[in-house]
Symmetry: C2
Subunit: 249 residues, 2 copies
């Protein structure tokens, strides 16, 4: 094991930060690292918005489900799927890209590009001793977020990322057994094996919560998942994405 | 700048590898690093399939647009969006998840989860001196890929990743100007600024290709994008994803 892999394995989400903004140099390293990630067919179909403005951060914290660390951090990044610049190119080059840009395939390209860039940003931040937390809650109300950030058509804010100097060191949440996530040569569809792995994993998770909360929480993972997925959320998303011009055909 | 950021900035796609398989330990480090990435609401909505079988690799190389490095590498990983295990959980926990699982929101969750995991895998591989290349060509024919890998419903193979010992050191493709990708406090919609940045970037790219090919190629980036995006590709994707049970509502 080398130091980079050690860093990756040490990851945990940090939700409490010192009141200390990132330096311009730190921000630049983070964005340059994001840009260095692979990009589908060189399309670079994403953008990053860094939020410094205090009122905007407050509003974004409200919109993201009142998570205080969206407001109180060293810097708040928002990663967007972005084909807007390609529509500018369509004009410059007199090309018709509509069918392409509106396709589910290109929507996937943009989401994947943005996520690869984001994970490089996360690793870069953590390598500088900073902590990070992805903010999926940003998708609670993208209509409002888009207005606040003035994002044009063909841009979809996907998630936020808080970055800052950590003031806590939370436990590392155990992941699914490797054999459950990783298959060789073909997908393992054996439902019985799957169930056994999940039951074992439930024991791990129960133990983790019991230890951390002195017995107050005894959740299992499958219980958490059943609860979360029984309640459909953000069902406006299909329409919103289509209104932005993507995932339509 | 620290060594991790240096590693991230050194990234380039490697398309030629020694005939030398990855060790089980290397594969394990790569998958464990992938698993350590953040995951939306702890959902872990992805899977990884590693392909060792020679015939399958050959077939996947054909299906991905006859890219020889899909066959000739140290290991071939395939990253999948995956809510299949959650359908097993629905059964175990007697929960109804259909609306959730079929939503565009959850499709995005799974694609983002898979991409974050993949980029950690890429960084882990590169930290061990290995080279990587993402294979978006896997999406040329997902119907066939899914059959070959035996993936069930609620699983979508998103892209491949070849990993191995590099035998070439290609140039680093210049990225868009940082100011074009990164905005502060709001999205910069000023079309004129955008066009100027793109024209400057075109000069950078032209120079890059001219230098590398002794003048044989003089592409611009906007020219490449116009050509690529004028031809809609993989237009079966919307239907395929819906057939797999995702992105439907």
């Amino acid at each position: 094991m080398n130091e980079v892999i050690e860093l990756l394995l040490q990851h945990r989400s940090i939700r409490k930060y010192e009141d200390r903004p990132l330096s311009d140099e730190q921000i630049r390293f983070i964005v340059e690292s994001a840009q260095a990630a692979s990009t589908s067919s060189y399309m670079q179909a994403y953008s990053i918005i860094g939020v410094r403005n205090k009122e905007k951060k407050q509003r974004l914290a409200e919109l993201s489900g009142h998570q205080p660390y969206v407001e109180a951090n060293g810097h708040f990044f928002i990663f967007c799927a972005d084909f807007y610049r390609h529509t500018v190119i369509a004009e410059m080059e007199e090309a018709n890209m509509t069918d392409s840009l509106e396709s589910t395939e290109k929507f996937m390209v943009a989401v994947i590009d943005a996520a690869l860039a984001a994970q490089n940003a996360a690793v870069a931040a953590e390598s500088m001793g900073l902590g990070i937390c992805y903010i999926g809650g940003l998708r609670n109300n993208l209509e409002e977020v888009a207005k606040l950030l003035n994002t044009p058509k063909y841009v979809i804010p996907l998630f936020g990322m808080t970055v800052g100097y950590p003031v806590h060191e939370p436990g590392k949440k155990p992941r699914l057994p490797l054999a459950h996530i990783y298959h060789e040569d073909a997908y393992n569809q054996d439902e019985e094996t799957y169930k056994k792995q999940l039951q074992q994993y439930n024991q791990t998770i129960k133990h983790y919560y019991t230890e951390r909360t002195g017995g107050a929480r005894t959740d299992t993972w499958t219980g958490q998942m059943a609860q979360a997925l029984s309640q459909p959320t953000r069902m406006y998303m299909k329409k919103f994405v289509e209104q932005q011009g993507m995932n339509k055909r």
